[in-house]
Assembly symmetry: C2
DNA sequence: TCCTCATTTCAACATCTTTTGAGATATTGA
DNA sequence: TCAATATCTCAAAAGATGTTGAAATGAGGA
């Protein structure tokens, strides 16, 4: 995960419809769900959903596969968890380990 | 952390200067650093830095305290780590625990 | 008190993002 | 092959966000 990827990912997640789509797909699990079902869950037009789904896919947060007539979208879990790793990298100049537990900078400074 | 707070946080992190400020403050640790030093590190005008610092503070990702003439900014760690918790909530319909370790949905579906 | 330093505020402008609706494309079953 | 279904693309309009430079505020020291 580099800065540019992180920026794209955060931009993707900063939009209400897209954040909801990601959470829906996180809950759905690795099998994912078809674009149409996502659209129905969001109550949004197909072009709107398509726009947001490709935005999320370009950012690497979800991916798609075709299955018969449908295109199935699913969450890319490592991309999501990689975001916090990127944010917390070098936390407190390396004096604490944010991957071990919740980063507790009170315990690692001075 | 609710949806609106998460949207604000992600929007804050989706801008290059702001993402760099947060990473700088994460590395700086809980003591933080004055606005002027942040601006110098970014090579940006004071009004630009001030705009982005208040954006981040409004989103709850950083906070400030006055110390003599300077205003010292520091990262709010729980707000940062709360972001992934929010994203991963109910992951795979609760069949895996994303806070325990990296969420491994391969092991929790079907 | 007055001056200086550190930071914030403001308004105008430029730029980027999202929504809309119409039409295009791809896959399957009759 | 044709019709039906599922999804995507595109351009224009609307809306949101970031940048700039000048002026305002607020704290501390002479």
């Amino acid at each position: 995960m580099n800065e540019m990827q992180a920026l794209d990912a955060f931009a993707s997640l900063s939009q209400e419809t897209r954040l909801r789509i990601v959470r829906l797909l996180v809950i759905a699990g690795p099998d994912g769900m078809p674009a149409g079902a996502v659209g129905e869950a969001m109550g949004a037009s197909s072009s709107k959903i398509s726009f947001h789904l490709s935005h999320l896919e370009r950012a690497g947060l979800i991916r798609s596969r075709r299955e018969a007539r449908s295109i199935i979208y699913s969450a890319v879990y490592p991309a999501l968890s990689g975001l916090i790793e990127f944010l917390m990298r070098d936390c407190c100049q390396g004096r604490c380990d944010p991957t071990e537990a919740k980063c507790a900078p009170e315990t690692c400074s001075v």
